[in-house]
């Protein structure tokens, strides 16, 4: 599998998460339903083949291992991402993060306030420093994908 193939499979999944599942998460009446949805999200993303999980793609600061791949379409100035994680809840949360930024231009990405967005989705607690789930590290990694001016 190539990065192009992975990207091609990941993009529709992220779009679907953004258009359908986000609403389900916000509407979840209890924690059980919220987590049931969260765990389904990760399953929608194609798994990254073991061979492609190179050490430099690892997002540090996670209790579970997570990998982030980034592709910058320079012609259109659009950023695309692929992700995988050993842990399902973290993968679901990271998928939410990615669906929000996927396809953004460099300027949009630089401006984007993930914290604020997570707050709106009632997911802010997951971004706190004290949690070893790596969400904060992932957010920093995404931001770092902006090309330096």
């Amino acid at each position: 599998m190539t990065l192009e193939q992975l990207l091609a499979e990941t993009q529709p999944a992220l779009l679907q998460i953004k258009q359908q599942d986000l609403a389900d998460i916000t509407a979840a009446k209890d924690w059980q339903s919220k987590y049931r949805v969260l765990m389904q999200l990760g399953k929608k993303l194609p798994p990254v083949p073991e061979k492609m999980k190179q050490p430099h793609l690892l997002v540090k600061g996670c209790e579970s291992r997570a990998w982030l791949m980034h592709y910058h379409d320079k012609a259109q100035d659009k950023h695309f991402f692929v992700l995988d994680s050993e842990a399902r809840i973290v993968k679901g949360l990271m998928a939410i993060m990615l669906c929000l930024v996927n396809g953004m231009t460099s300027a949009e990405l630089a401006k984007f306030d993930l914290c604020h967005k997570f707050d709106q989705l009632n997911l802010k607690p997951y971004l706190s420093q004290s949690r070893g789930n790596g969400l904060t590290a992932m957010a920093e990694r995404i931001k770092a994908c902006c090309p330096a001016k």
Binding site: M39, E63, S64, E86, A87, V90
Partner: protein, 405 residues
């Protein structure tokens, strides 16, 4: 003697009144503090606060008396031969660093060997590694048996290589298994090795008798024994403490200083540079005095009962893999939900206000040996109840149900 009354015991912890909805099963990470400890720390700051060993005034003398009484009390608890055999450190980690660093300059020479075990906490691996690499000392590692105990046959073989020092934990912080420390110390001594015991978990399980156990060093942290954070004990036999090069230098630990030379103070001050954690020492001493009001056997029986109920309950939940053995277990159970990442399980327990730890618990070499990516660790203390056990089991069932849906 009346039996152990867990409700009476638990009532002494303000934490459980403040947080009545939480089931706290992360005791191997840190324990809660009874009023006796909180009161002792507050009383010191309110009534006696002064620096020790150095003031010209009476207040300082009083603080010194309290601080040294704490040392004597702890030394008495450990049955140390002398109070100066108790060195105050910031915790088990600091104590192990002091020992590894201190022996490197005096006992250990390039080409020498030391012996550790496969299940050590990073605090009992990395300090050794750091100094061994620099000094050219070789580290050997005792493997485990099929039931994750220390392989004593292999241990004896490795002792035959003539290690100068052996360092191992009293109780594994991941598996909860109680190691045969008395036997291991005796074997090491027969082989002529200096013996170091990481008692960070062991100290909660039983009152260790230093003269009987006859180890050269035993270390632990106050916060895992109902005491404050930031205080710990490095116990050592006088002979060996005298041979440690101080890792920290500064005030209080010196005799004379000039820019040409410095001569060191005597024990225990030689190894306690700077202002010590006075309130911490007093708090830890209070924890020990308080704990002695309870019968250790009864406390252990209560914890065994919790453990038995927990194992029984686990057997009824599908897809649970247990890494810890129920026998010779001090109250720690490492487990996994088959095929699931431990952090997912722990997060689902967290949602149900059951506090556990997940991951590799600062014991990566153990997990690579077990070929597991980590584990969920439920660790029980004397203040836990059967209700806690049941709530944890229900929460696990719920987690399994959500994960396998």
């Amino acid at each position: 003697m009346p039996g152990f009354d867990v409700q009476q015991f638990r009532q002494q912890f303000a934490f459980f009144q403040q947080q009545p909805n939480w089931v706290y099963l992360d005791n191997a990470a840190t324990m809660h503090k009874p009023h006796a400890v909180l009161d002792a720390v507050t009383a010191f700051y309110q009534q006696h606060n002064s620096n020790v060993h150095r003031g010209a005034h009476q207040l300082s003398q009083q603080a010194t008396v309290l601080f040294e009484q704490a040392r004597s009390n702890i030394a008495g608890y450990l049955n140390a031969a002398h109070p100066h055999e108790v060195i105050f450190t910031s915790g088990a980690t600091a104590a192990l660093n002091q020992i590894a660093f201190g022996l490197m300059h005096t006992l250990l020479k390039p080409g020498d060997r030391i012996l550790l075990t496969q299940l050590e906490h990073h605090a009992n691996i990395v300090p050794w590694q750091l100094h061994c690499q620099r000094f050219g000392v070789i580290i050997d590692v005792v493997p485990l048996t099929a039931d994750h105990g220390i392989d004593l046959v292999a241990y004896k073989k490795l002792l035959a290589l003539g290690p100068k020092a052996v360092s191992f934990s009293h109780i594994s912080n991941v598996l909860g298994h109680i190691q045969p420390v008395a036997q291991m110390v005796a074997l090491a001594k027969a082989a002529g090795a200096v013996t170091v015991i990481d008692g960070a978990q062991g100290i909660v399980y039983q009152q260790p008798d230093m003269q009987q156990l006859d180890c050269d060093f035993y270390v632990f942290s106050g916060h895992k024994l109902y005491g404050p954070t930031g205080i710990g004990v490095l116990y050592g036999k006088t002979l060996w403490l005298d041979r440690l090069t101080p890792i920290f230098a500064g005030g209080e630990m010196i005799d004379t200083v000039s820019f040409v030379n410095t001569t060191f103070n005597k024990l225990p001050f030689r190894l306690e540079a700077g202002t010590p954690n006075i309130a911490g020492a007093i708090g830890l001493s209070a924890a020990i005095s308080w704990l002695q009001k309870y019968n250790t056997n009864q406390v252990q029986q209560h914890k065994s009962l919790l453990l038995k109920e927990f194992y029984n309950g686990l057997a009824a939940i599908k897809a649970i893999d247990i890494l810890s053995m129920p026998v010779h277990n001090a109250g720690i159970v490492a487990l996994n939900v088959r095929g699931e990442h431990p952090s997912d399980v722990a997060e689902l327990l967290n949602q149900q206000q059951v506090a556990v730890r997940s991951g590799q618990h600062c014991a990566m070499p153990l997990f690579s040996y077990l070929a597991q990516q980590g584990a969920v660790r439920c660790s029980f203390a004397a203040y836990n109840t059967l209700d806690d056990v049941n709530r944890c089991l229900l929460a696990l069932e719920q987690a399994v149900e959500i994960l396998t849906a």
